[in-house]
């Protein structure tokens, strides 16, 4: 019974923790411009993140070490450094976007300028990392993040033309008013949002924090294979709400308030209250994950003592890196840059960095020296290789499409 509850809790936190500001904003932007004609990218991204997250979790459970530690040992310092630099910069950008996202969500609840909330949000992120245990931190934000189910409820309440929405999703095409390059730019952005590099590093480091063993592989697989696809359904629901309310009115999503308007239209004050809790929890949870991931990456590459399972004094350089990352993110936001723009760029640069993150994971999870008889099976390997091709294509296309479309404008 306890084990069953553990599995259920893991799945629920995986659903609630799946969405971050990148997913929320990008899906709303896409829904308001393209309807559900890019829903296939969410499906592709969810399959990819399931594949690589369970791979990195298995590596941690079998070896007792986080992915980044093994990458450096297995592939050498130079390749690992390229991986570190790319993943760290993208994670820092994502952390900046998440802290900005918390401030924007709090603005919707208070009408107080986001710039006043940003230092409060950054301090709260640091305080929780410093004072709270790993498991409660993950469970509380994940469970509160489940409030974003309100998007799915709102979509049903809006009473859309389901056949038109499904037709849009299963027979994707470029809308007449949009340039094909813009369509593909948002396809890459959506893919980058679903497969953000920090997610696998956090997943793998979290496995070490929670001291997973080979006995935990089945549960982690259930968390990923059930929780992430259900999280993906919420992503599509966000796009669906925007497609039903904002697209016919010709409203472009340029702020987080746009994301909330369809929910208010469908469910009124109560739905908005639930949404605001979900938005704060999702962005706060992702800010915790990205801040910790920044520390994990640097500490694991440099061989420092790391982890929340150690007292801060025993992992001082790890905690210092986390603090520096939070301060840098806050500094960027305090220049007055638009957090939504930061979010849009963070998902595109995530796509650019994808091969540097995912190729080493595939290599390590195939190495019997670390994995013993738990190396990838032939199906997982075949899927992994197919995904690497997709990931490389998205990475190569991201910058040219960014320039060609003026960041999708």
């Amino acid at each position: 019974m306890t084990r069953l509850l553990g599995v259920a809790l893991g799945i629920l936190t995986a659903i609630g923790g799946f969405l971050d500001i990148g997913d929320i904003v990008t899906n709303a932007v896409v829904g308001a411009r393209f309807g559900l004609s890019l829903a296939w990218v969410v499906v592709l991204g969810v399959i990819g993140i399931c594949l690589f997250a369970q791979m990195s979790g298995r590596v941690a459970a079998v070896s007792g070490r986080a992915t980044f530690e093994i990458i450096r040992e297995r592939l050498g310092a130079r390749v690992a450094l390229a991986n570190l630099v790319a993943s760290f910069l993208v994670t820092l950008l994502t952390l900046t976007a998440e802290v900005g996202g918390i401030a924007l969500a709090l603005q919707l609840a208070s009408a107080v300028e986001p710039r006043l909330w940003m230092p409060v949000a950054a301090f709260a992120v640091w305080l929780v990392i410093w004072r709270t245990g790993f498991k409660p931190m993950e469970n509380v934000t994940g469970l509160l993040g489940l409030c974003l189910v309100v998007f799915a409820v709102a979509l049903v309440q809006l009473g859309p033309d389901w056949s038109a929405l499904i037709r849009d999703a299963v027979t994707p095409s470029v809308p007449a008013a949009e340039h094909p390059a813009t369509y593909w730019f948002y396809a890459v952005a959506l893919f980058g949002a679903a497969m953000t590099p920090y997610e696998v590093f956090f997943f793998s480091s979290g496995a070490v924090e929670e001291r997973w063993t080979t006995k935990d592989i089945a549960q982690s697989r259930a968390d990923v294979l059930v929780g992430f696809p259900l999280g993906g359904i919420l992503s599509v629901a966000i796009a669906g709400c925007a497609a039903v309310v904002l697209l016919p009115a010709g409203i472009e999503v340029t702020s987080l308030s746009h994301v909330a308007l369809p929910v208010a239209t469908a469910g009124g004050l109560l739905a908005v209250a639930v949404l605001l809790v979900g938005l704060v929890a999702a962005t706060f949870g992702a800010a915790l994950e990205t801040a910790l991931s920044s520390g994990y990456m640097v500490a694991q590459y440099l061989g420092w003592s790391w982890g929340k399972f150690r007292r801060p004094a025993q992992a001082a350089r790890f905690h210092l890196t986390v603090i520096v990352a939070i301060v840098v993110g806050l500094g960027v936001l305090m220049t007055g840059v638009d957090p939504i723009k930061v979010t849009e760029y963070s998902v595109v640069f995530s796509a650019v960095a994808l091969p540097l993150t995912y190729l080493p994971i595939l290599v390590v999870s195939n190495d019997p020296q670390y994995m013993g008889d738990k190396v990838n099976g032939p199906v997982v390997n075949a899927l992994g290789q197919v995904f690497l091709v997709v990931v490389v294509a998205a990475s190569l296309a991201a910058i040219p499409l960014l320039l060609l479309t003026g960041a999708g404008s």
């Binding site: 009408a111 309310v245 702020s255 908005v272 060609l404 479309t405």
Partner: protein
């Protein structure tokens, strides 16, 4: 830097400039004005939706104020882009003036709607959202006229 590397870097820089140039000059001034007008129309429609929600008491005041504040910021951005665009053709100059006037009309309606939503004016939601929808329709019509379909 050796010669093949220098050539590769030069090609990359050239490709970047070409791509960036394609993005910034697509459609020339009419295309630019059309995109700014569409942005302003989106802001006016956002204001109309927020006014409808305020009238039906379906959203908290903080959300409505944020939505209207964001819409005003979007309309101001569009006005700024149109106002600072340098034009050399008389037809483009006329289109620029017409665009600016339409955006400023929408901006005024948005500012008024925000004041209404904050309780500064009495009255029903319908005239507020109607004024914003008319402004949005004008902007959309002008965007098609100026920037092409």
């Amino acid at each position: 830097m050796n010669r093949p590397h220098a050539t590769a870097v030069a090609c990359a820089v050239l490709a970047t400039l070409l791509l960036a140039g394609c993005a910034t000059h697509e459609g020339g001034t009419p295309g630019f004005l059309g995109r700014a007008l569409e942005g302003a129309a989106s802001a006016a429609e956002t204001g109309a939706l927020a006014a409808d929600l305020a009238g039906a008491d379906r959203a908290p005041a903080a959300l409505l104020d944020s939505a209207l504040g964001d819409a005003i910021a979007d309309a101001r951005t569009a006005a700024g882009e149109v106002a600072t665009r340098q034009v050399t053709d008389p037809d483009d100059a006329a289109a620029q003036q017409a665009s600016l006037a339409a955006i400023e009309e929408a901006l005024a309606a948005l500012v008024d709607a925000r004041a209404w939503a904050s309780g500064a004016h009495d009255g029903a939601a319908a005239p507020v959202s109607e004024r914003l929808r008319q402004a949005a329709d004008r902007l959309t019509g002008l965007a098609e006229e100026v920037g092409g379909p």
